[in-house]
């Protein structure tokens, strides 16, 4: 049974169909890439899966359970965590408190190891993304790259079974991109299932085994990175039609 099953999901904003009949599934332990030009509906798809938007039709099943239309916090507590495309830190809180908020969720509290304090766990998460030196720094003082990592730490602290990363590489310099690639590879080895939306195809193709291409809300291709890069339709969408 796949971990996440999305079936004939549709979302309309007035006359615009942002997501049109999209179906796909993610197997446990898999890393799925989601690509497409600007406005293809990638973020909308994330919002539909995580409950930030209500779909017009279609179902989302997680571990066989229908989670369509559940409130966002309930979906997180079922085991799906997401990061945001534009970083959304809690500006007034220090880095460690940012992660502590996620540790306060019912799922994280329940999964907390015996005799381990939430603070310790928050620090472990910061260490995992390489931010432990900044733990007491208010989030408003952190650089963009650090905030991206803070988002990851926060998402990981909710103990997700499925991690949805919305453009994790946006705004990162090559060194940071490299570091993040390694982090994601390590998470993959640890058995995390992930869906990654990304523009930087080069970075993405190294990470994923399967790619889905969206265009104007429709799924136009699905396959391994190699297949996708040779797919005529995809090339057409990205490069334009040949003369």
């Amino acid at each position: 049974m796949p971990l996440l099953e999305v079936e004939t999901l549709t979302k309309r904003f007035g006359g615009l169909t942002a997501i049109d009949n999209v179906s796909f599934h993610v197997d446990e332990g898999d890393v799925l890439g989601l690509i497409g030009p600007n406005g293809a509906g990638k973020t909308t798809l994330f919002k539909l899966i995580t409950g930030f938007l209500k779909s017009d039709s279609g179902t989302v099943r997680f571990k066989g359970e229908d989670i369509t239309g559940l409130a966002p916090h309930k979906i997180v507590n079922k085991g799906i965590a997401r990061t945001f495309q534009v970083v959304r830190p809690f500006r007034h809180l220090p880095a460690i408190a940012n992660v502590l908020v996620a540790c306060a969720s019912p799922r994280a509290s329940k999964k907390l190891e015996w005799l381990k304090s939430p603070e310790r766990k928050a620090l472990d998460m910061l260490e995992l993304v390489g931010l432990s030196e900044m733990m007491l720094e208010p989030a408003e003082n952190l650089a963009h790259g650090d905030l991206k990592r803070l988002e990851m730490a926060r998402a990981l602290a909710t103990e997700p079974d499925l991690l949805l990363l919305d453009e994790p590489f946006s705004g990162l310099n090559p060194i940071e991109t490299d570091f993040l690639t390694k982090s994601i590879q390590r998470l993959h080895l640890d058995g995390y299932t992930m869906v990654i939306v990304e523009h930087k195809l080069q970075a993405l193709m190294k990470l994923v085994r399967k790619v889905i291409v969206l265009h104007y809300g429709e799924k136009i291709a699905e396959g391994s990175p190699k297949e996708i890069s040779q797919n005529k339709k995809v090339i057409e969408v990205y490069m334009g039609r040949g003369v």
């Binding site: 409130a71 966002p72 959304r88 830190p89 809690f90 996620a102 926060r154």
Partner: protein, 345 residues
């Protein structure tokens, strides 16, 4: 044995209070408040201080709701008024002792907060502010529909006082002064602990970014309601104490406990002292209330001078005076520690 006990207390104080300049300052201020009656102030001054402490509790409860959870309420007088009325009615007409009526009034406030919170917390930002503003005004007007001795403009005349006259032995207000100071001290510590607990951190996360808070698996509605209820309970405590101290001297009236001014006092005090700190509103309430009395000599110009001072202070220290002082102290200690570390090297 006793010596050991005191030594333990002293040692825990030495590390937790005396070593932290801002906490040491708070401790010294508390000692100062304890010592004020030793200067044999008039009953009038004691009464002014009592009211300032009551408003300090009230403002601190508002700060937890607004400064921490970011739910801007301009109708906090609702809970102040409900508690004052509940406690006054229960003690005057049903003969219940005050130590029972105030907790009952607080409980009732919490219940009202749950009932009103469910529908009103669905709206956000300025809309929430407007909704909260309406509640005390509605109650204020509805009270006029009832007949005395409960309804009407004059309200409930003379609810019982905390201490019977025989007990006071001429030292009017002194016992009440210490009682209210104790209540302020305890509730300030509880509110401060809540504000800096894990729950308090979640409150701030809601203030900063509600969606991100949801993405962390936080049931935002539940925490908002929790902030509303805690805040209402402590506002109720302030209202209950008010009814039996200041209210007992005259009456618990709609204008006195439910008016717009009552809702705005905590706002001014909190912003003046430092929003989101819990200690800020306490400093603000104390400073502003005593300042107002200090300008008594200026007669009609009093309010003008008072307001100008507030405006100047807020322009100069927008983060609040208490927050400013604490920040400066922290910076100084940090500098000192750095210098010491340099020396060691």
């Amino acid at each position: 044995m006793v010596g050991y006990f005191f030594r333990r207390i002293y040692l825990s104080f030495a590390t937790k209070v005396f070593d932290v300049p801002s906490k040491l300052l708070a401790f010294l201020l508390f000692l100062l408040l304890l010592a004020i009656p030793a200067t044999r102030p008039s009953s009038y001054i004691l009464l002014i201080l009592i009211i300032s402490y009551i408003y300090a509790i009230f403002a601190a409860s508002w700060d937890l709701l607004v400064g921490r959870a970011g739910l801007v309420s301009l109708g906090h007088a609702l809970f102040f008024g409900i508690a004052a009325y509940t406690s006054a009615i229960l003690s005057k007409f049903y003969g219940l002792p005050i130590w029972a009526t105030i907790p009952l009034a607080m409980l009732f406030c919490a219940l009202v907060a749950v009932l009103l919170g469910f529908p009103s917390l669905r709206v956000k930002g300025p809309y929430l502010t407007l909704v909260t503003m309406a509640f005390p005004l509605i109650l204020h007007t509805s009270l006029f529909a009832f007949d005395p001795p409960i309804g009407g403009e004059y309200g409930i005349a003379g609810p019982p006082r905390f201490f019977p006259r025989e007990f006071l032995m001429g030292t009017e207000f002194l016992a009440e002064y210490y009682l209210v100071l104790l209540v302020l001290f305890v509730s300030a510590i509880i509110l401060y602990k809540i504000a800096n607990s894990k729950t308090g951190i979640v409150f701030v996360s809601i203030l900063d970014d509600e969606s991100a808070s949801k993405a962390c698996g936080i049931n935002v509605t539940k925490y908002k309601l929790l902030a509303f209820v805690i805040s209402a309970t402590f506002a109720g405590l302030a209202g209950g104490v008010y009814a039996h101290s200041f209210g007992a001297l005259g009456s618990v009236s709609p204008g006195g406990v439910l008016g717009l001014t009552t809702s705005f006092y905590p706002v001014i005090m909190t912003i003046f002292g430092g929003i989101g700190t819990i200690y800020g509103p306490i400093v603000g309430a104390f400073t502003l209330w005593t300042l107002m009395e200090f300008f008594q000599f200026a007669n009609e110009l009093r309010v003008l001078i008072y307001v100008s001072i507030i405006v100047v202070f807020i322009l100069k220290w927008p983060e609040g005076i208490a927050k400013f002082v604490v920040k400066k102290l922290d910076e100084l200690t940090e500098k000192r520690e750095l210098e010491e570390r340099e020396k060691k090297k």
